[in-house]
Assembly symmetry: C3
Homo-oligomer: 490 residues x 3
Amino acid sequence: MASPDMMKPLLRNSVEVEQALSELKCPTVGILGSGDFARSLATRLVSSGFRVVVGSRNPKRSASLFPPGAEVATQQEAAGQADVVFVAVFREHYSTLCDLKEALAGKVLVDVSNDTEPSLRLQSNAEHLGSLFPECTVVKGFNVISAWALQSGPRDGNRQVLICSDSREAKSSVSHLARSMGFIPVDMGPLSSAKEIESIPLRLFPSWKTPVLCSLGLFCFFYGYNFIRGVIHPFVTKGQNSFYKIPVEIVNVSLPCVAYVMLSLVYVPGILAAFLQLRHGTKYRRFPGWLDRWLQQRKQIGLLSFLSAALHAVYSLCLPMRKSARYHLLNDAFKQVKAGQESAWVEEEVWRMEIYLSFGILALAVLSLLAITSLPSVGNSLNWREFSFIQSNLGYTALLIATLHTLTFGWKKAFNPAQYKFYLPPTYALALVVPCAVLLCRTYLLLPCVNARLTKIRRGWERGRLTRFQLPEEMGHCNVNSAQEDVSNV
Amino acid sequence: MASPDMMKPLLRNSVEVEQALSELKCPTVGILGSGDFARSLATRLVSSGFRVVVGSRNPKRSASLFPPGAEVATQQEAAGQADVVFVAVFREHYSTLCDLKEALAGKVLVDVSNDTEPSLRLQSNAEHLGSLFPECTVVKGFNVISAWALQSGPRDGNRQVLICSDSREAKSSVSHLARSMGFIPVDMGPLSSAKEIESIPLRLFPSWKTPVLCSLGLFCFFYGYNFIRGVIHPFVTKGQNSFYKIPVEIVNVSLPCVAYVMLSLVYVPGILAAFLQLRHGTKYRRFPGWLDRWLQQRKQIGLLSFLSAALHAVYSLCLPMRKSARYHLLNDAFKQVKAGQESAWVEEEVWRMEIYLSFGILALAVLSLLAITSLPSVGNSLNWREFSFIQSNLGYTALLIATLHTLTFGWKKAFNPAQYKFYLPPTYALALVVPCAVLLCRTYLLLPCVNARLTKIRRGWERGRLTRFQLPEEMGHCNVNSAQEDVSNV
Amino acid sequence: MASPDMMKPLLRNSVEVEQALSELKCPTVGILGSGDFARSLATRLVSSGFRVVVGSRNPKRSASLFPPGAEVATQQEAAGQADVVFVAVFREHYSTLCDLKEALAGKVLVDVSNDTEPSLRLQSNAEHLGSLFPECTVVKGFNVISAWALQSGPRDGNRQVLICSDSREAKSSVSHLARSMGFIPVDMGPLSSAKEIESIPLRLFPSWKTPVLCSLGLFCFFYGYNFIRGVIHPFVTKGQNSFYKIPVEIVNVSLPCVAYVMLSLVYVPGILAAFLQLRHGTKYRRFPGWLDRWLQQRKQIGLLSFLSAALHAVYSLCLPMRKSARYHLLNDAFKQVKAGQESAWVEEEVWRMEIYLSFGILALAVLSLLAITSLPSVGNSLNWREFSFIQSNLGYTALLIATLHTLTFGWKKAFNPAQYKFYLPPTYALALVVPCAVLLCRTYLLLPCVNARLTKIRRGWERGRLTRFQLPEEMGHCNVNSAQEDVSNV
C-alpha cells in the first residue's frame, strides 16, 4: 500500500514537473526601467513567447510606451513575480533600486548597461550592481545588443550575446533566454569578465588600427620619395616648375606602391608561419603574439590594398581629363608640326603601354573578386575549399599579375642611370622588393619535398613522436582552421 | 493513505505530462493542399523534427511529390490527426474544404495565402477562412515566407514570420512552430491585422518611393536649368549649335548637383530633430510624421546620392573618349599652330583642375565606404559606435569634401557677370545652398554649450522635471536607438 | 486504495519524466578526439548549454586545450557517460577506437569526418565506422561545418547541417542537437547518402563551371573573329601593322559581345520553359534536365555578363590613356594642319558617339543594380515581388538598352560592303542575333492572349482537367517558386 508519506514527494514532483513544463513554455521575465532599451527588450521577449512584467515608478504613464503583450506594474510587483529580472537602468541610478532589495533577494539580475565612454572606474557596472544586491545573482549580458536588433530581430553578425556570471545556473537560464530570443549566447566566464564585455560596444575598429597605420605609413613614405624625385629634383637641377603634380600625379604613383606592398604583406605572415612550423616540426607550438595578430588582420590588409588599387585606377583614368594633359598634348602637336615630323609613333612605347594597361586591369579584376568574397554574406556562402581557393590561389594570382604590371611599368628604367635622381633608385624598384621575396618563398614552399612535410605537419604529425598513439587524437578536418587563423594557404 | 480519488488527477497529470513531453519533442502538423508551398512547408517541417500529415484529394498521386518523411493521407485523415493545420489552398477554393468542418472543429487553422494583386475585397483571406470555419481558431502567418526560403532554410532578412490571431494561445503555438523551423515570429496583434500582413508581399520598395521621386525631381530641375544655360543660351545669343551636349554633357553637370543636394538631405532631418529636441527640452515628444519618415529614409537618400555621384564619375571619365572632345582638341591644336603660340599652359587652370579632381575622387571614395557599410551583411557586423562613426563622421566628411569639390569647380565663376546667362546664376551656386546651410547648422550644434545640452536631453533629461525621480526609469543605453531612427548623429 | 503495483509505473513515469526534463535542459554529449574540430565542437556545445565529456587518450595533456566548461576524461569514461558521441578522428584511425566497442554499444555515433581529396573508396567514412561498430547507430553530419563556424557561432549561408542515418530516432536526436547549437539540420535520408555528404566540402564552385566555360568559349570565338577582322585583314590586304591592338583593343571589342550574349542567355531558359508550359498545357510536367540546370545557373550567367560588361567599361575608359591614342591624335593634328582644315567637326560622328556612350553607361548602371541585388544579404532583404521586379523587369531593361548601345555602335556599318572583311559580317551584327530573338519571344509572350493562358497555367490550371477538383490542391502562392527555379519572370 502506498503510504501518504510515499505520495508526497511524488505529488510534489509531478506538480513541480507541471510547473517546470509551463515555465518551459512561457516563463515570466521582469524588466526594471522604461527607457528605449527596456521597451525593445519587452517587445522581443513578448514576441518570443515570454510573459513580461515591467517594473516602472509610474506604471500608468509608462504603460502606453510598452507593447500590448507586456504587463506594466510597480517595481515591487515586477521584482516579486519574475525569477529573472533585467536591470535596464543607468549605473548612476542603481542605488535608487535599493528599496527592492527584499523583493529581489535570491533572483537573477541581468545587467545590460554600457559605459558611454571608456571608464576609469575599477569596478564594472555588473560588479557594482552585485555589491549593492549581495543576495542576488548578477549576470552581465545583452549590452552588445542594440535596442534596434532587439526590436527588429537578431541578424547575422550581431546575433552573439556575451554573458558572464559567477553562477553557472544563472548563466544557463539567461543563455536559455537568449537562445529563445534568437540570439547565440557566448559564455565569457566569471563576473570579473564584465569589465571586458562592457568595453566591447566602445570599440572602434580595433582590427583595422594596425593595417590602416601601416598603409598610411607606406603612403607617406612613397609620397615623400616620389615628391623628391618628381618635383624637387627637376626644380633643383633644371629649375623646372612641376609643383602642379602634387595633388594628382604624385598621389597616383604612390598609391600603386602602397597597394602592391600591402598585397604582399597579406601573404608574409602565412609564409612565416609555414617556416616556423617546418622548423619546429609541429603545428602545436604557439606562434608569437605579433604573428598571430598579423595572421588575423590579413583580411583588413587585403582590403586596404584593394582600396589603394581602386583609387590608383580612378586617378589613372582621370589623367587624360586634366588641363595639364591637354596642354602637354597641344604643345606636343605644336612641336611635331614645327619639326615637320609626320608620324609620332614609337612602336616600343605603344606596346609597353598596352601590355602595362592589360596587366593593370587584370590585377584589379582579380582583386575585386577577392574583395567581393570578403563581404560577410558572400564569404559565408562558400565552403571551405572554395574560400581558400579564392583567398589563396586568386590572391597569389593577383600578386603575380601586379608584379608583371609593375615590371612592364618599369621596363628598362632600372638600367638607365638618368633614372637615379639624387642617386635614388626608381620607385617601382623599391616596391618590388617585398612582393618578389614573397613569391620566391612561396615557390620554395611549393617544392614537392617541402610541401609534403608541411602537409604532414598540418595533419597533426609531430617530429619525434610515435604516430600510432598520437594521430587518433588529432583530427585535422578539412574545415578545421578559421578563415582568419588559417595558415594553410601560404 | 492515498485514496484512489486522490490518485486520479495525479495519474492524469503524469500521463498528460508525458504526452506533452512527447508532443514537445515531435508534434503532429497537418497541411491541406499539395501545391509548391505545401510541399516546401512539408519539407521544412519534417526536417525540423515534426510529424507531418498532408491532406490531399488524391493521396496516391500526391505522395510522390512530398518528401519521404511526410505522410500523405486524405484530407479527412489529415484534419483529424493534427491540432495545427496549415491551409495551403487559394482563397477561391476555401469553400471546397467545407466537408472537413467537423474534423477541423476546435483546431488551429493557419492561413498562409497571399493576394496576387492589391485587392479591393474588404475581408482578408484569413478572416474569410474564419467566417467559413467558425469553430476553428484562425492564425494568419507564413505568407511573407517564400517556398524557397522554406526549402532552403531561413536566411537573414527574411527570417521574420508575421503572425496575427484573436487567440493568444493559438498564436503562441504557431509562434513556437515558427521558432522550431528557424524563423522569428513577430506578433502583429488580432486577426484584423491580416489584411495588412497579406499586403506585405505585394509591396514594391515602399521606402524608396519618396527618395526616388525626390532625386528624379532634382534631376529634372537641374537638367532643365543646365539645358537653358548650356544649349538654349548660346543658340539664342550666338546661334551656336551645342545640341550635341544633350546626351552626355548636360547630364554630367546635372548629376553631381543631384548627388550633392541629396547628400545634404540625408543630414537635414537629423538637424531638424536636434533643434526640435532642444526647443522642447525633451526627447519624449514625438516628432511630426513627415520628420519620422524622413529620418527613416536617410539610408535610401544616401544611396541615391551615391548612385548619382558614381554615375557622374563614369560620365566624367567618358568625356575624353568622345569624338567631340577629339575634334575640339584637334581644332585647338590647329589654332595654336596658326597663332604660332609655343606653349598653351595656363598655370591657374592646371591647378584648379588638379585640385578639383582630387576632391572629387576623395569624395567618391568616402561615399563608397558609406555605401559599402549600407550593405546589410557589412552593417550588421559593426557595433553601434562603429556604425554611427561611419554614418555620421564619414558622412559629414563626404559632404565637406563635396563642398570643396564644388567650390573648386566654381572657382571665380560666381563673380563673373558673363556667367549669369539669362540672369541665371551658375548651377553650382544653386547647388551649394542647402549643403552649406546643413554644414553651418551642424557647426552650431557642435558648439560645446549646445552639444552638452543635447547630450543631456538624449540621455533622458527633461526640462522642468526633477531628475531624481525621472532618470532611473530611462536608460539611454549607448546602443539604444535604431540605425534608421537614431538622430544622435546630427 | 492505491496498490503499490499501481504506483510503480507512476513512480517510474514521473522519475523518467524528471530525467527527461533535465536531459531536455542539459543533456550530456561525448566527443572522441582532441584536434581542432573536437575543441571547437566542445566550445560550441558548452556555450549551447550541453554537458560535454571529451574522451582523450591523454586527458591531462588535453585538458588545457578545451574550454573550462568541458570535462576531459579517458575515452572509456566519455564513451560510457553520453548517449550521443561525436567521433572527431581521422578515418585511418577509426580502428584505434575498437577497445571502446563495449562502452559504445547501443549509442549514437556521429561521424564528422571529411575526405581531404575526392576519394576512390567505395565506402563512405560513416559506413566504414558503422561496419566497425555494428552495435552502434551511426549518423553522418556536421562535416560541412567548419571549426571556425562552430567557434564563432553559425552564420547565414553555412547554417545548414546535412544529416543522414538509417535510424530515424538517432537522426532526430542529432537534429535536435544541431538546432540547439543554432544550426539548421537537413535530413538527407539513409546512411548511404554519407558518400554524397562527405563530398560536399570538396566541391569547387560546381554551379559556376558551365557558365564560366560558356563565357570563355564565347570570348575565344569573338576574340578570334575580331583578330581576323582587325589585325589579320589589314595586314594581309594592306600590309598594315596593327598587332599592337592584341592586348587591349581586340579584347575590348570582344568583351562587350560576351557580356551582351551572356545577358541574353539569362533569359533564354525562362522563355523555353514558358513555351514548354504553353505546349504541354500544364506546369506539372518536368522540364528536361538541361533546362532545369540552365534555369538554376541564370544567376551565375548574369554575374559573368556583368563582369564582362564592367571589364569592357574599364578597358574603354583606358583607351585615351594609351600612347597609341596619343600618337594617333598627334598625327591627326599634323595632318589637319598640313591640310589647312580649320575644323575637324563631323556632326553625325559626334552624335553617334554621345548617344552610344549614354546607352552604355545606362546599361552598366542597370546591370550594376542587378549585380548588387545578387548579393545574398541584399537579395534576402527583398520580398518576392521586389526580387522578381528587379531580376525580370530591370534585367530586360538592361538587355534593351544594351541592344540600343550595340545598334548605335554599329550605326550604318552593316550596310557598308567595306565592313565585310574576308566576307565576314561586322562583329556587332553577330552579337545581335540571340538577344534580338530573346526580345522578340518575350514580346510574343507578353501578348495579352498568350500571357493570360500562361498565368492560368502557372496558377495550377491544366489542359483537359476539371478545374473544380484540381485547383484546391494546388496553391500557387505568390511567393511559391525559388529564386533559382522560378520561371515566371520570362
